[in-house]
């Protein structure tokens, strides 16, 4: 769905923490940073280490920003139609873009040149880079997941098709496995070196929209429209445990495990109104208890952890990129 990546949202008041009122372990504050955009954004993405953000704008330019200091790192001239899907590789070296027709380009951010191009039947609904940045997995809407060698553009393998396609993808930290949250309501785990199915979990009735591996790669945490956060054994697909039911669905790719493996963050959507913000929530993996939550002033589009364990949330308006560092 295009809404998840289009940075066209309205600011709505000031942020406030609700943690104290709910007796949570901590009451976080957020440091706000704003990057002004010179043209209206059509799509944006946060890098896996939450240190860079890429924004495609209607002035036919793709810009990569360093979030630490707000410095513009690279500007790439975009041909063709407006971009509606964007993703960044670890380290920010490569950026994937796609227009509505499924014309996908992998850009080398440093040279501004195309690494390779793909003509997909539909734009991607999800993508992920392996942690070493060498493999790119792309799931075009309603199509199998396709794996590419980033260096050569060679297609390595693809999974078997599932009805409706894939809403979210995540590689394990060691790059051995990849988990997919599929629109047929199944979470699948594949061998990332062959595309072969390892395990699947069919406990969801509605679509899972977000997945991530625990740091040891042994479990997949999945959540989505069922309003349930589920821990799944990555070797056999069996449900390990479920946390207490949420009051709203977890949003697309709105679940990220911290680098130290002790926590994960979630961002929910307001199902009745996707333009209404929901809190960023932090959970303990060991206990499954919510530890804190922070209410953003506007809708969060992406969330990620920096190497040193800082939680970064990104949202914005058509002409600004808003970054919140949750302390």
């Amino acid at each position: 769905m295009t809404l998840r990546c289009v940075l066209t949202i309205a600011l709505a008041g000031c942020f406030s923490s609700t943690a104290a009122a709910q007796g949570l372990a901590s009451s976080p504050q957020a440091k706000t940073q704003t990057i002004a955009l010179s043209a209206a954004a059509t799509s944006g993405a946060l890098s896996p280490e939450a240190d860079n953000a890429a924004v495609a704008s209607n002035d036919k330019k793709l810009r990569l920003w360093n979030l630490a200091d707000g410095h513009l790192l690279h500007t790439i001239e975009l041909p063709g139609a407006d971009i509606e899907f964007t993703a960044i590789s670890p380290g920010g070296r490569f950026i994937v873009t796609s227009d509505a027709a499924g014309n996908v380009v992998l850009w080398n951010a440093e040279t501004g040149k195309s690494q390779f191009q793909l003509g997909l039947p539909h734009p991607p609904s999800a993508s992920a880079f392996s942690a070493d940045g060498k493999i790119l997995a792309i799931a075009p809407a309603s199509q199998p997941i396709q794996f590419f060698d980033v260096a050569t553009g060679r297609k390595l393998w693809e999974t078997t098709a599932v009805t409706g396609g894939t809403a979210a993808l995540a590689f394990s930290r060691d790059g051995a496995s990849i988990a997919s949250a599929d629109t047929d309501t199944v979470v699948r785990i594949y061998d990332a070196h062959s595309g072969k199915l390892i395990a699947e979990n069919r406990d969801f009735l509605l679509e899972p929209l977000a997945v991530d591996f625990t740091v040891d790669g042994k479990q997949v945490i999945a959540a989505g429209a069922d309003k349930v956060i589920a821990f799944i054994d990555a070797s056999n697909g069996k449900l390990v445990r479920k946390l207490a039911k949420l009051d709203q669905p977890v949003s697309w790719s709105g679940l990220k495990v911290s680098p130290d493996g002790a926590h994960f963050a979630t961002v929910c959507m307001t199902a009745e109104n996707l333009g209404k913000p929901r809190p960023v929530e932090m959970w303990s993996i060991a206990t499954g208890q919510k530890q804190s939550e922070w209410m953003p002033p506007s809708v969060i589009r992406a969330v990620g952890w920096t190497h040193d364990g800082q939680l970064v949330s990104v949202g914005g308006t058509a002409n600004s990129l808003l970054i919140w560092r949750i302390q």
């Binding site: 396609g165 996707l274 333009g275």
Partner: protein
């Protein structure tokens, strides 16, 4: 005077009886009829794909009426056929349908405004509902479909309403006001039927699947 048209089968029979048609020895008469009809049949365009959206829920019970008695909103009756691209009807196709309520809300906790239908021997399906509300995350009113038939690619699509105020009476040109509508074919006319005491909207939506 009304002229009775001959069916293709009748025409072939007459030609065969008059000696003006010679069948190849390897073909039966029925096979020849089938081959002629197939060669003359115009292929149908598959119903355009449209994304599934985030709120598909598997296991919806079969119900020909999606709304409950007393629900507000304009009553709606939708019917159609499930076909393949050669125009052959697909009986027994599984048709999963879901929509927002007239208030524009999807039921995530139950199965309100969700159903699973099966096309009948003529490939037909029909159901009653209420006109969906405008879901705040989307521009236009819409109804989701997921259709599965053995030997055919699953069809995921959405049905839109030509009467939607977003189109300002010209859906053929204004359908792009909803960026999720990629094909104006998915915007269908809405007929009003009944009388002042029982007015309802009627729509037809054929579902054309591609063979695997």
């Amino acid at each position: 005077m009304k002229k009775n048209a001959l069916s293709r089968r009748e025409l072939l029979l007459k030609c065969a009886a008059a000696g003006s048609l010679t069948l190849a020895s390897s073909l039966s008469f029925d096979e020849a009829v089938w081959a002629w009809q197939e060669s003359d049949r115009k292929p149908l365009k598959p119903t355009p794909w449209n994304e599934i959206g985030p709120f598909y829920k598997r296991g919806a019970p079969n119900s020909a009426q999606l709304s409950r008695p007393g629900d507000p909103g304009m009553p709606l009756k939708i019917s159609g056929k499930v076909l393949d691209t050669r125009g052959e009807v697909l009986a027994g196709a599984k048709i999963e349908i879901w929509q927002a309520s007239p208030q524009g809300v999807y039921d995530l906790d139950g199965y309100d405004y969700r159903t699973t239908l099966v096309s009948d021997a003529q490939g037909k399906y029909d159901f009653g509902s209420k006109l969906p509300g405008h879901y705040p995350g989307r521009v236009c009113q819409h109804i989701h479909y997921l259709v599965n038939a053995p030997g055919h690619k699953p069809l995921i699509t959405q049905l839109y309403f030509a009467t939607d105020t977003v189109f300002e009476g010209d859906p053929a040109h204004n359908y792009t006001r909803d960026p999720d509508i990629k094909d104006s074919e998915l915007v269908r006319p809405v007929m009003l039927a009944g009388d002042t005491t029982d007015i309802h909207a009627l729509m037809t939506f054929e579902l054309v699947l591609e063979r695997l």
